[in-house]
Symmetry: C3
Subunit: 315 residues, 3 copies
Amino acid sequence: MKHFFSVNNVPDVNALVKRAFELKKEPLKYNHLGKGKSILLIFLNPSLRTRLSTQKAAFNLGLNVSIMDIGKEGWKLEFEDGVVMDSDKAEHIKDAARVMGNYFDIVGIRSFAELKDSELDYAEKTINQFIEYSGVPVVNMESATLHPLQSLTDCITIEEFKTKERPKVVLSWAPHPKALPQAVANSFVQWMTSSDFDLTITHPEGYELDERFTQGVKIEYNQEKAFDNADFIYAKNWSSFNDYGQILSQNPAWMIDAKKMQLTDNARFMHCLPIRRNVIASDEVLDSENSIIIQQAANREYAAQAVLKTILDSM
Amino acid sequence: MKHFFSVNNVPDVNALVKRAFELKKEPLKYNHLGKGKSILLIFLNPSLRTRLSTQKAAFNLGLNVSIMDIGKEGWKLEFEDGVVMDSDKAEHIKDAARVMGNYFDIVGIRSFAELKDSELDYAEKTINQFIEYSGVPVVNMESATLHPLQSLTDCITIEEFKTKERPKVVLSWAPHPKALPQAVANSFVQWMTSSDFDLTITHPEGYELDERFTQGVKIEYNQEKAFDNADFIYAKNWSSFNDYGQILSQNPAWMIDAKKMQLTDNARFMHCLPIRRNVIASDEVLDSENSIIIQQAANREYAAQAVLKTILDSM
Amino acid sequence: MKHFFSVNNVPDVNALVKRAFELKKEPLKYNHLGKGKSILLIFLNPSLRTRLSTQKAAFNLGLNVSIMDIGKEGWKLEFEDGVVMDSDKAEHIKDAARVMGNYFDIVGIRSFAELKDSELDYAEKTINQFIEYSGVPVVNMESATLHPLQSLTDCITIEEFKTKERPKVVLSWAPHPKALPQAVANSFVQWMTSSDFDLTITHPEGYELDERFTQGVKIEYNQEKAFDNADFIYAKNWSSFNDYGQILSQNPAWMIDAKKMQLTDNARFMHCLPIRRNVIASDEVLDSENSIIIQQAANREYAAQAVLKTILDSM
């Protein structure tokens, strides 16, 4: 594995999940693997779990860590080719990425969707230019349309808590006051199908994800029906893909509450966090025994570490 | 000692001061104590000395250090329970704190008073929620009403420079253009009385600190009288506790100048810094032989290190 | 060498360049030199290469690194003496610098020109106060009028790519939408003349640099003539020194394109980056075989490391 852009870079998802469990047991076992090597984590957008868990994973592997909030500590980057750069963008990404790749052994990058133009966002220009120009392994710390470190965490967590060989996993849309990217949902679908879990997606009409991700996956527009017999409920808001970036509904009836959880087969509740309490899901659900949101977030450390270790191994 | 929230967590102040002196002599002696462990320093407010000295203390102990300016690099946190989170606050502190506690072995937090509602500030909700939810030792890097790392430093510094067994220490209010929290003053009183120094507080009427801190402590409204025979003058501004958060006076006559210092018994001058020169105290005082503000600030490193070492020892 | 403020602190430029080449071959050879020591990098202005390459150089030497964006994470500093500090500036630089020097073994500082008052900028008050007060070695990470880490990099890069004993180096002004400091140009001239390269400067009339730097250096107002037979073209914009801080020209005819490069003796193209493509130089030039802007930026790591190693050696 050179880059970690999506599940497609992972030859064997189950092996990567297994590696994460090994690291969770002995996080410092490979503390000398990163010695003398350095990773740069670049943030174009806010982050809490990704920022901290990736740092911690790098510490566990003995890597030096540099962090750059590029828009605040540096300047705006130009992403278009051939432009006369006389505006507010002081440096072209191709120059910035090449330079960064000279200083660091691995580069992680977070860059959200703008939610204005789906073709632009789905072209994944920012991270792809880092992959093209930096010359070093690039780790997706949430790009415009994918969040594979989160999805690997989700696989680990379902594996950890499942009580059936092939549990029923439901990805449920839930309301949110702001328009959010589809990245977590897209990526979750991609990894769930690669891991061969029994996936159902439920959302109001108009919230269909890009078909390139959902082909062959069950979609159930009735949330209550979808919850029937579920083993895991994965809540997440996203904005419309078809009416790109639009909020079509803020219907509070889609919030996940205790009553809905009773329709499931004693399902575990998951969310990638940050979660807006009593909007996405009720306090009662989030603070219940069945909520595994904190255990899930804790697994981010080992997901990141499994990815970084795999990259270091193949250097 | 699990948490370091206030002097009440410290079983023996003198022993902690002694430990700081030992570390000052050999800062790297316990460099392997923190190996493989990590500390997170969370800032909700600006910081210079605390930020740098706590990092340095952690380096001395071999800890990995992550820093997060949470409002800028992350997002706003919700502190109220049961709220429908549809405003600008993207994550509840209880979730954020739990997640952070999963990644890090120790968490330090700075969060100032809002100075709007004394009950709210004095409830110390922010740091208390970190203590309640993070599951790991929490270090107070200045909370709404206390700044114990500063006060421990002050104990160390007075111990270092005192020439009498029980020196007379005067905490003197001084003017300032902005409304400041009472945290440094409250905490100073708490630690001075725990250390059994001879403390006098002087301030204009209306600037009385919360009685829970000052019970039994001499208050002298005449600054010149207070300075008589003093061995240490500790200058600090704070806003009114009774007229909560208000500036009642900016009277420049309360500035500490060389003439006032002559009333003392050749007293040392202290301040926690940052200090507004020629507002709190004159250049002449600050640049005099008797000023120990830099030595005091330098001791912040060993105060933080003594606290972190004590926490690491009891893990 | 105690401080690294300008070329004048360097007893032997060639020896420093040689040291950089040795470090480039074996960057981790002196990884134990910085063990137990810490460097603080202070930024009053944005930075990408300096920020990352200096961190990396410090990692290579085993130093602990703290970074402080002082205006954002701390507060505004007062630089004038004797002021009544009742404005928005919360701390005097002399106090801040003294405190920082107590925590760290080396301090790096970036602080740009304000471009309002040439005497003020050329007095280099900010970095000079750090040198005066911090009590530890201070590294210039670009000051108001000088950028010696960049210039050392430029010496290294010319040495690496030169094919003649004494190549002809042309510093060419080029247009830019914003008023920029003269620091890179001043410093480049200073180091080129110390290294005895054959330097020509070309710029529109009115863009003469401060004569204290250019005395005895060829100035050719005709850019095409200047390029004749050149071995290295070093492009850079700066604002006027005489009409201090003013933009006198944005004439696109001064942009460096492929046609102009043909006037040279197959010259290498250099720039300190960030570069505005198709404003300073055309894509065709920047993406040509002769462009060495990335190799040049990569050398920043070894320039910084050579400086830090020299400072550590003399501690």
